[in-house]
Each structure stands twice: as structure tokens, then as C-alpha cells.
């Protein structure tokens, strides 16, 4: 069985025609992934018992003649910030090394109910903070396309697993681009759904108002199928939406002829590189498909980076307070006082990037600075959302680059946080607006590095977003 080229459809076909059982597939997939993993380090650990148990349930359903579910037998990788009951979940942090959650994230429950099989947990930047997966306490992940390069981040492990073929689909999380940017770097599809589309219950919070769980896949249809399985209202997440979930994968025919696509002027002005050329090629492809591409303006884009790094760090400083050494997090061995215990446990436990963001966030919320930073950032956020709302009165979807550059070399930006933050320049606007956005492969540079095309739609506009992405994919992207 060629594990690396399976799709949800081919697995379903294989199971229903009894060519293989879900248990056989799970065992093969685990063997393949465990053998291939050392090359990239995408997985932090495997969960064979859980995988085989899930697979057996799928086989039982098939044996009883029941529908085994839309994800029947599909090997899935799960980012290590998403909780899995009984399976260690570290969030890429030393503080949670060995932490075994007592419950499952809602997305995990739903994915397994749909027949998904969790092979293991994937590496990521510590608490999802980073754009290269180099901030993991457990070592970096290598990009399967070019092993001396980063897979992007923070969901680098999930993107790498799907690209490498050690998972068919994967769950990641995105706060400012952590699904789309690694998808782009690794040449796979990555989807950040509308805020509230997928329950955050069981996702370790980085920045609550920006956090999303979303799928990675090797094709648009698989991503759509996984999203449909995990989406929908969850009573345990007050911010989850009651909007009905359509069958994203049942894409209507007729392509995208006549659709109006917006191309934001502000995203292209500094994009002179090879990435820019590939994006232009992608835009040409849309025009060949019969789309009407027009230039639009998102004038508040300039505020996005500052706005994002204020709101996200403010929320993070509060969300990470619970990792205090008192209960489930590791406690510093030598402390005289309570204050020392906090300082030492957190000082020893958190990596540099987390500390940087906790300090930033603490600062912007401090008495006397709140109005100047946090409140102002919320206003900027409203302006950015307003830009998109106006744009979607004119266009059906927006197309844009995902990242200003393709995958960079390991270590290239670790000492320059600001340069690292600029990786997210095109992705954080969509995150701040809470709209659905995704990355689809848009060709490769001369050096063979993938570049992603970002497609953004209005709130709960996933159907049109997938329609555009699917047409682009079927047209062969840039070529």
C-alpha cells in the first residue's frame, strides 16, 4: 500500500471494497510513519493503541453494514496543542513534558466519531508561538520538501506530516497564520476556518480571540471533508457558532466562471520576489478560469502586525498564567518562597519566545498603558475587519500571497524575532477579522520551494472559499 499517496476517497474505496481493513491500514500507516519520522521530526510521539482501537471501531461498523463515517480509517496527525485524553500533550513546552490530559478536545472527539484514526501528536512551536517550529522545546521539524529548511510554524509538524505522507490529513491550529504559512511552506492545503466554526474546547489557548483549529490535507476536498467533520456548535465553547455546517466537500460544479476575486493592492506592493511572480501566475490562472480579478484596497493593513502582536500577546500573557508550577506543570526544585517558586518554575519552563510574548502582553495590559496599546489595538482590529467587510460587498473572495517568502533555512531567523514576525504579514489580517482563509499550493520556486496562494472569504463563506480553491487546484495552479 502506498501510504504516502492515500486520500480520504481512496481509503474509503479500499475499506468498502474490503481490499484492506482499517486496522491493517492503521498498522501500515504507523509503521510507515515511525520509519519516516526521523527524517523530519514531524511527530513528537505516536499513539498506536488509540489508533488501532479507533481503526477496529471502523472495521466493526463496516462489518455491521453501517456507514463507517466520512473519515473512516483515515490516518490523522494532531498538533500537540490539541488535547488527547490519555495521550501525552506537551504543547511543545518543557513545562508540560509528560502531561497527560484527562479529556479530549471537541475537534478530536468529532474527528474520531467520523472514523478518523489518530496516529500521533505533531511537533509545534511552544504554545503555538512561532513561524518556524524552531521554538519547540523538543527540537525543530525539517521541511520534507527541503530538509535544511523549516516547515513553517507554528503547526510545522502537522504540515510536514501531511507533506511527507506520514498522515493523510492533520489538525493544526492557527492564531496569526500557523496553519496557512506552514501549508504554504510545505506545499499542502491548510485551512483556517471562520472564527467560531470549530470549537476551541480542548485547544490549549494562545490568544483566545484569534485561535482556530483547522485542517491540513494534500487536496482541497480532503481538507473540506475534515473541516465538515469537526465544525459546528459546541455547548462547551461559548464562542462557537450555531451556523449550520454545509457539506463543504460536495462542491458544486460549474467552476468559478464569473466569480469576482479581489487582489489587495497593499499585499503586492512589496512583493517583488519569486513569490510575487508565482502569485501573479496564480492570478493569471484565475483569470483563465473566467474569474474577474480586480484590485481592491485594504487600507488598514499597515496596522495589522502591531495590532496582532498587542492583542495576541495580551491574551497569551493571561492564558499562559495557569502554567505556574502549582499543579500539572513542572515545578522548579529549589525555591524558598511562593514568589520564587512562580519565578523559577516559569523562568526555567518557558522558552525565549514565550517569555518575550508574556512580557509584551503583560506590558500592554499594565495600568497606564492599556488605553494606549490594548484599546487602540482593538480599534485597529475593528478597522481591519471593516476593510474586509467593505471588500466583500464588491468581491466574492480575496486572493493574496500567504507569506512574503518561501521556506527559509533552519536557524536563519531565530535570532531576529521581528523578521520572523513578518512571515505572518499577509495571514494575520484574516485572523484579526475572523474570516475563513486557506492556503493552496501555487507552484514552486526555481529552487523547488512551494509557495501558497491564500484565498479569503467572508464570515462563514467557506463554501465559496473551497469552490475557488478547488477550481484553482484542478486547473493545476500556476502552471
Amino acid at each position: 500500500m502506498d501510504i504516502a499517496s492515500l486520500s480520504i476517497d481512496s481509503i474509503r474505496e479500499g475499506l468498502l471494497s474490503r481490499r484492506f481493513s482499517a486496522a491493517e491500514l492503521a498498522a501500515d500507516a504507523l509503521r510507515f510513519a515511525e520509519a519516516a519520522n526521523p527524517e523530519t521530526g514531524a511527530y513528537l510521539r505516536f499513539s498506536p493503541e488509540r489508533a488501532l482501537a479507533s481503526a477496529r471501531r471502523v472495521d466493526e461498523r463496516i462489518a455491521r453494514g453501517e456507514d463507517p463515517g466520512p473519515l473512516a480509517g483515515v490516518p490523522v496527525a494532531v498538533k500537540d496543542v490539541i488535547l488527547t485524553k490519555g495521550v501525552t500533550t506537551t504543547c511543545g513546552s518543557k513545562l508540560l513534558a509528560g502531561y497527560v490530559p484527562p479529556y479530549d478536545a471537541t475537534a478530536v472527539v468529532r474527528m474520531e466519531e467520523a472514523g478518523g484514526v489518530i496516529l500521533g501528536k505533531t511537533n509545534c512551536d511552544e504554545f503555538a508561538m512561532g513561524s518556524s517550529t524552531e521554538n519547540s522545546a523538543f527540537g525543530p521539524v525539517r521541511n520534507p520538501v527541503a530538509l535544511d529548511r523549516v516547515p513553517g510554524g507554528s503547526s510545522g509538524g502537522s504540515a510536514a506530516a501531511v507533506a511527507q505522507g506520514t498522515a493523510v490529513v492533520a489538525l493544526g491550529s492557527d492564531t496569526g497564520g500557523s496553519i496557512r504559512q506552514p501549508a504554504s511552506f510545505c506545499g499542502v492545503v491548510g485551512v483556517t476556518p471562520t472564527y467560531g466554526r470549530v470549537s476551541r474546547f480542548g485547544l490549549t489557548a494562545f490568544a483566545s480571540s484569534l485561535d482556530h483549529i483547522g485542517p491540513f490535507a494534500r487536496n482541497v476536498k480532503d481538507a473540506a471533508t475534515l473541516l465538515r467533520a469537526i465544525a459546528g456548535r459546541d455547548v462547551r465553547d461559548s464562542t462557537s457558532a450555531g451556523v449550520p455546517v454545509p457539506d463543504y466537500a460536495a462542491l458544486p460544479g460549474g467552476g468559478v466562471k464569473g466569480l469576482k476575486l479581489g487582489l489587495p493592492r497593499e499585499y503586492l506592493k512589496d512583493l517583488k520576489s519569486e513569490t510575487g511572480a508565482l502569485i501573479s501566475g496564480g492570478v493569471d490562472a484565475f483569470q483563465r478560469l473566467g474569474c474577474e480579478v480586480r484590485e481592491i484596497s485594504l487600507p488598514s493593513t499597515d496596522y495589522a502586525i502591531a495590532c496582532y502582536y498587542i492583542i495576541a500577546t495580551a491574551e497569551a500573557s493571561s492564558n499562559l498564567a495557569r502554567f505556574d508550577g502549582v499543579r500539572y506543570t513542572s515545578r522548579s526544585a529549589s525555591s524558598e518562597t511562593l514568589a520564587d517558586m512562580y519565578r523559577n518554575s516559569r523562568g526555567e519552563g518557558f522558552g525565549a519566545e514565550c517569555k518575550r510574548r508574556i512580557m509584551l502582553g503583560t506590558y500592554v495590559l499594565s495600568a497606564g498603558y492599556y488605553d494606549a496599546y490594548y484599546l487602540k489595538a482593538q480599534k485597529a482590529r475593528a478597522l481591519i475587519a471593516g476593510d474586509f467587510a467593505r471588500a466583500f460587498e464588491e468581491v466574492d473572495a480575496i486572493v493574496a500571497p500567504v507569506s512574503p517568502f518561501p521556506a527559509f533555512k533552519l536557524g536563519e531567523k531565530v535570532d531576529d524575532p521581528l523578521a520572523m514576525y513578518l512571515s505572518d504579514i499577509y495571514t494575520i489580517t484574516g485572523s484579526l477579522a475572523g474570516i475563513p482563509c486557506m492556503s493552496v499550493p501555487c507552484g514552486k520556486t526555481a529552487g523547488g520551494l512551494p509557495v501558497g496562494m491564500q484565498i479569503l472569504a467572508t464570515h462563514f463563506g467557506e463554501p465559496v472559499m473551497f469552490r475557488v480553491a478547488s477550481a484553482f487546484e484542478q486547473a493545476g495552479g500556476v502552471n
Partner: protein
């Protein structure tokens, strides 16, 4: 650090100053479950058993607001005459402490649940209105256990059963000018909240906790003095004692040339003193910001109207009505409205008996005496309100003498029976039928020739003796008025 006030202020010095007091009252809502999860709020369970990922603050857990908690909080706000905001918002109050598993408390900050309320207090006959600045909702922290373990010398334990219990904080205006006013305000707030059933307000169990902001200024001064926040006021008595101590301390400090420092002070009930906890230099910066895990809380007018309509009569109103409708004295009305259960008990007795004044007399006298002797709450009274009403009704109609009524009451409290059943069985009914009493009256006349002669000679007081003879003969069941009338007729 502040100068320590070595000597308390003299009464003369204190008299020159005016205290300014505001209270922050935390009240635990009487919900069955916690504010952001489904765990029970029951008291006394083994440590860390009423917990789940949400109230343990585990990674990935999210709060979901309890509708019941909102309902009780809104009722409390209405009982305190507050304006309930159409939209309020939860905010995170960030600080580190081992009993705070999330590292922040979910409270409300600049968009509280309700604002601009008041309660009226009466002190020595003079009414005064105390402003209620705001009412907001929040979750409680857990508890640290410093004692009772083998290794308690060097180790403290955390019990998170209380974590996530719903609280409201009621912040008053700095409208109180004495510890007595503060006492009266807290009494009024407690009574109202108990009346509407939003909290037991049991201070011993920590269901009602109070902090006070206290400052003093020279009488006639415009500006407030620097205030100290006094914590750990865990009973009404401690509130008054701590305030009086703190007022005296501040006056002494100012009189001796010092300055009051803005600080948090802890009341120590053992010494009766307050001591500084942390000064301004250690003041917390709570870094409040809107809670992103919860949507803004919107309270629509129809729902609010339904709650308003369902509000029970509040104690102040009930007191006025008891005085007006039942002709009760002010003191009696106050005693009978001290608790909702007590006032409802009284009203049943008053209605059933048709004699409110006697009802008040019985409830405040015999019934309360009985409850006190048995250490019971009125809700656990062995004599039901209906039965007591029947008993009071029988005496009012003259069907039972006062003496017999007390006997019957004693039997009722022992057996829980209705008075009618006891009277029937024991044959205790008053005899008012003149035909039935005629024989006894004639016997008494025949047996007391000397007294009869005295009566006829004009010494009418001897009638009491003759009536007494009849009462003895009938074991107290004779109707005194009927017997007296019979004697007058026969001897007249």
C-alpha cells in the same frame, strides 16, 4: 510604612472627625452548580471532588456561563434597586495565587451587570439612603489548607471544590458615616438577598464576605481623606469592631501628625486590631481585559420584566405593610420581617386566625421561645403556621381560654397535631353554653352561702371567687364571660 498609632484616639478627637465608609460585599449565589461549569456547589465534600477541567483551569478548558447564576445575580441587583445594564461583559482579573487555578479570576470590570442602586436604612428612627455603585458577577477561587495534614508544618494543600462558585460583588458608595450605619447597611443587604432567595448569606460558611473602605476627615471638610481597605470582616460584630478600631487608628495617626496610607489592612479578631497587608508599592496591577472566552452578556427587557414581576415583596415594604394593614408596632413588624420564612409564617397565622395582633403575639412569644429552646429554624418548626393560626383563631373567638391555649400549644409542639384534634380528644373545648353551665353555677351558689351574702351586701369583687369555683369544677373549660353573666343574673 505608616507610623504605628501607639495610643487610641480620645473620644473628643474622634468626635471632631467624620468617618467615610464604603463596603464591598461578596455574596455566594445559591445555585446548584458552579458559574462556568456543571460541578455542584455543595459545601463540605472531600477536597478536590467537585471539580472538572473547567474549574481546575486545565489547558484547553473554556467557561460557559450558567443561566441560573445570571438569574440570581439579576434578582439581587433588582432587590438593591440597581439598573441592570442591557449589556455587560466579563473581564479577566489577572494575578498569581495557588488557589487561583487559571491565573485569573473571571470578573466584570468596566461593564458590570448592574449600576446605580440604593438601599434605605433606618438608624434611631432616622432614614438614610446608601448608594449601591454596582453589582457584578465573578467566580470564586479555591481554598488553601494550611492545617490538619501530617506535613502541615512545611506544606500547604489546595482544595479547588470552591473554585468557580458563583459570586456577586456589591460595591456601595462611600455613603456611610459610622460603623452603625455600615452595620445597618450590611444587615439590610443581607436581609434583602435572603428574602429573594439568591443567597443563604451564611457568614460562617463564607457565603457573605465583606471588605470596608474607610477614611476619616475633619467634620465639615469637603474632601475625603486617604482610605484604607480593611479585609477579613467575617461577622457583623467584627465589621463594627474593625471599623471602630480603624476609625480610631486613623484619627490618632492624623492627630499625632502622621498620614493615613492607602493600603490594604487585615482585621485580626484575636487582637481586635487591623494591620497593614501590603502597601501601595506592592499594589496589584490586575491587568483587566475583556474575557475573550465569553460573549458579552445581553439581558433583554422581556426577561428582565419577568424576573421583576416574580420578585417577592422586600422586607422594607413588608414592614410598612404589616404596620399599615395589621396595626403592628414598628418593633414587632421588624422582628416579624427579619427573615422571609418568618414573615411568611406570621402572615399565615394572621390570615388563618383572623387576628393579626394576637398572631404577632403568639409568633414572637410562644413560637419563637419554642424554636429557641429546641434550636430550630422557623422552617423546621414542629408547629405549622396553619395549626398555630387555628389555635389563635379559637382563642380569638373565645372558644379556648388563654390558659388552655398554652396547654394545647405545648401538645401541638410535641405531636405536630392540629389544635382541633387535641381539643376534641382531650375534651378541652370551652363550655359557653349557659344551659350546660347553669348547674355548676347553682352548685357554687349553694356551696358558698357566705360569699353569696357578701355579694348581695354590695361586695362585687367576691364574684371572682364564685367564678373560680365554676372554673375549678369544669377543669378550666368554662367560658368566664358566660359564667360571670350567669352569676349576675342569678344573684342580681
Amino acid at each position: 510604612m505608616s507610623l504605628s498609632a501607639s495610643a487610641p484616639a480620645t473620644p473628643e478627637a474622634i468626635a471632631r472627625y467624620e468617618p467615610v465608609i464604603g463596603l464591598e460585599v461578596h455574596v455566594q449565589l445559591a445555585t446548584a452548580t458552579k458559574i462556568f461549569c456543571g460541578c455542584p456547589t455543595s459545601f463540605g465534600a472531600p477536597p478536590n471532588t467537585n471539580v472538572c477541567p473547567v474549574c481546575l483551569g486545565l489547558p484547553g478548558a473554556l467557561p460557559v456561563l450558567s443561566r441560573e447564576a445570571v438569574e440570581l445575580a439579576v434578582k439581587a441587583a433588582l432587590a438593591l434597586n440597581c439598573r441592570v445594564r442591557p449589556q455587560s461583559r466579563f473581564a479577566r482579573k489577572n494575578y498569581f495565587y495557588p488557589d487561583l487555578p487559571k491565573g485569573y479570576q473571571i470578573s466584570m470590570y468596566d461593564e458590570p451587570l448592574a449600576e446605580n442602586g440604593y438601599v434605605d436604612i433606618v438608624l434611631e428612627g432616622a432614614p438614610k439612603r446608601i448608594g449601591v455603585t454596582r453589582v457584578h458577577m465573578e467566580d470564586d477561587a479555591g481554598k488553601l489548607l494550611h492545617e490538619g495534614f501530617r506535613d502541615s508544618e512545611g506544606c500547604s494543600y489546595v482544595d479547588l471544590n470552591r473554585s468557580g462558585t458563583p459570586l456577586i460583588e456589591i460595591v456601595s458608595e462611600p455613603d456611610m458615616r459610622s460603623s452603625d450605619e455600615a452595620y445597618a447597611y450590611l444587615t439590610e443587604v443581607k436581609q434583602r438577598l435572603q428574602f429573594i432567595g439568591v443567597s443563604t448569606c451564611d457568614m460562617e460558611k463564607g457565603h457573605l464576605r465583606c471588605d470596608a473602605n474607610v477614611s476619616v476627615r475633619l467634620k465639615g471638610a469637603e474632601r475625603f481623606g486617604t482610605r484604607a481597605e480593611v479585609k477579613n470582616l467575617n461577622s457583623f460584630r467584627f465589621l463594627k469592631l474593625a471599623l471602630d478600631y480603624e476609625i480610631s487608628r486613623q484619627v490618632a495617626l492624623i492627630e499625632s501628625g502622621g498620614q493615613v496610607e492607602q493600603e490594604t489592612r487585615l482585621y485580626n479578631p484575636d487582637t481586635g486590631e487591623t494591620a497593614g497587608m501590603r502597601g501601595k508599592e506592592h499594589a496589584h496591577d490586575y491587568r483587566y481585559f475583556p474575557e475573550p472566552d465569553l460573549l458579552p452578556l445581553r439581558i433583554d427587557e422581556p426577561w428582565l420584566d419577568r424576573l421583576r414581576a416574580a420578585m417577592p415583596e422586600l422586607p422594607a415594604r413588608k414592614r410598612a405593610r404589616f404596620i399599615e394593614d395589621y396595626g403592628l408596632r414598628e418593633y414587632d413588624a421588624e422582628v416579624l420581617t427579619a427573615t422571609r420564612a418568618g414573615s411568611e409564617y406570621f402572615e399565615t397565622v394572621a390570615t388563618v386566625s383572623g387576628d393579626p395582633k394576637s398572631a404577632a403575639h403568639w409568633v414572637m412569644g410562644d413560637l419563637m421561645g419554642l424554636l429557641k429552646a429546641e434550636g430550630k429554624e422557623i422552617s423546621e418548626s414542629p408547629v405549622s403556621a396553619r395549626h398555630l393560626g387555628e389555635l389563635v383563631g379559637l382563642t380569638a373567638k373565645g372558644e379556648l381560654s388563654g390558659k388552655l391555649a398554652k396547654e394545647v400549644f405545648a401538645k401541638m409542639s410535641a405531636s405536630g397535631e392540629a389544635p382541633g384534634a387535641i381539643i376534641e380528644r382531650e375534651g378541652l373545648k370551652q363550655i359557653s353554653d349557659s344551659g350546660a353551665l347553669e348547674k355548676a353555677v347553682e352548685d357554687a351558689i349553694a356551696n358558698s352561702p357566705k360569699q353569696v351574702e357578701q355579694y348581695k351586701g354590695g361586695k362585687t369583687t367576691v364574684l371572682n371567687f364564685l367564678v373560680g369555683q365554676v372554673m375549678r369544677a369544669t377543669r378550666g373549660q368554662a367560658n368566664v364571660a358566660v359564667v360571670t353573666e350567669l352569676f349576675k343574673r342569678k344573684l342580681g
